[in-house]
Amino acid sequence: MEYILIIISAVFVNNILLSQFLGVCPFLGVSNKVSTAAGMAGAVTFVIAVATLVTFLLQYYILVPLGIEFMQTVAFILVIAALVQMVEIILKKVSPSLYQALGIFLPLITTNCAVLGVAIIVVSKEFAFGGDPHMLNLAQSVVYGIATALGFGLAMILFAGLREQLELANVPKPFKGMPIALITAGILALSFMGFAGLV
């Protein structure tokens, strides 16, 4: 039950893009086509899942025992950067077809604040899913990370679909490009607000 609540909360209610504003750069940058948006979403999901797992272990088995929690930001970003590189290398060797699909997005992910954002949220915030608030455990953290990434993907693909349609619309000149995209994103965020109070 708790896992279902985590997923609904992270995908719909607290959508990382539309209500928390993490990962907006790729959201605006690579959402011209549904296919690229889907590729980016896939790569982000993969990296967030692995990064959450690793940073969780890093926090509780290295930083906390040594009493150097203040190194958190430095340690996390280093781990994420190394991880992205590693994923890239492994993917290239193991599954060239997957690398073809996700590869070009991987270097962009290091500076996707959704990855670092989720890693920090998981180890710093208490969650209450129907019970008393508590820090997430390892399994919950990973589920939360993946669910957040799915929310990212959902918003990304919906938005890309809308932008494909916008290409065909006759938009006033000053609105062309980013302004109309932002306003569209605003309306999309408005519709996601309808999920508030669901969990």
Binding site: L18, S19, Q20, F21, L22, G23, V24, C25, F27, L28, F70, M71, Q72, T73, V74, I77, L78, A81, A82, T110, T111, N112, C113, V115, L116, G117, I120, I121, S124, K173, P174, F175, M178, P179, I180, A181, L182, I183, A185, G186, I187, A189, L190, M193
Partner: protein, 195 residues
């Protein structure tokens, strides 16, 4: 390029928010009021200036292949220093800005300036470049925060000018996208007028 030019171009011609569309997460996430926008802008400027300086100083020694990781470590160190300083001296603002403070590390503006400017220029120029871009970022965030605050809570810099509520949606998430969208329209319109 003159020293003054280095500072001013970041404010208008290469404004990170309105022209380059960089650093969108804090731009949208922290501008619920003019003061929050201003605080976030200044925090970013602090990191930008220091990291630009440090990176231009070490750029000569860093091998090309580990360039990005080295820069990220430098930036992350300055961000953590900023966290300590804010916790100690502006705890209220630190709490309001929340997760967006550590996330300055992955703000594309900071790494972007390190890579595009600081690694190729001298320490003083890099400092001025950081100052200029930082001022531009601060100005945009303050303007966006002010617009959202005026529309959304009918106040400016925390001072109420109409009794009663504003159009609430502007302080909520959707309002951030919409307000920035319309500000961009205005910016584009002005730019074509000037040309």
């Amino acid at each position: 390029m003159s020293k003054l030019n280095l500072i001013t171009r970041g404010i208008i011609k290469e404004n990170p928010t309105f022209v380059l569309l960089l650093g969108m997460c804090p731009t949208l996430g922290t501008t619920t009021s003019a003061i929050n926008g201003l605080g976030m802008g200044l925090a970013t400027m602090f990191v930008l200036m220091l990291s630009n300086m440090a990176i231009s100083a070490i750029a000569g020694f860093v091998p090309a292949k580990v360039r990005i990781p080295s820069y990220i470590v430098v930036i992350a160190a300055f961000v953590t220093i900023l966290q300590f300083v804010m916790q100690a001296f502006t705890p209220g603002l630190y709490e309001t800005l929340g997760i967006f403070i550590p996330l300055i590390v992955v703000n594309c503006i900071v790494l972007g300036r390190a890579e595009a400017f600081a690694s190729k220029n001298g320490v003083t120029d890099s400092l001025l470049d950081g100052l200029g871009i930082g001022l531009g970022f601060t100005a945009s965030l303050t303007v966006l925060g002010l617009v959202r605050e005026m529309l959304g809570s009918a106040s400016a810099f925390g001072i109420k000018f109409i009794n009663g509520d504003g159009i609430l949606v502007f302080v909520l998430a959707p309002g951030a996208f919409i307000a920035l969208g319309y500000l961009l329209v205005l910016f584009n319109k002005l730019k074509t007028k000037i040309k």
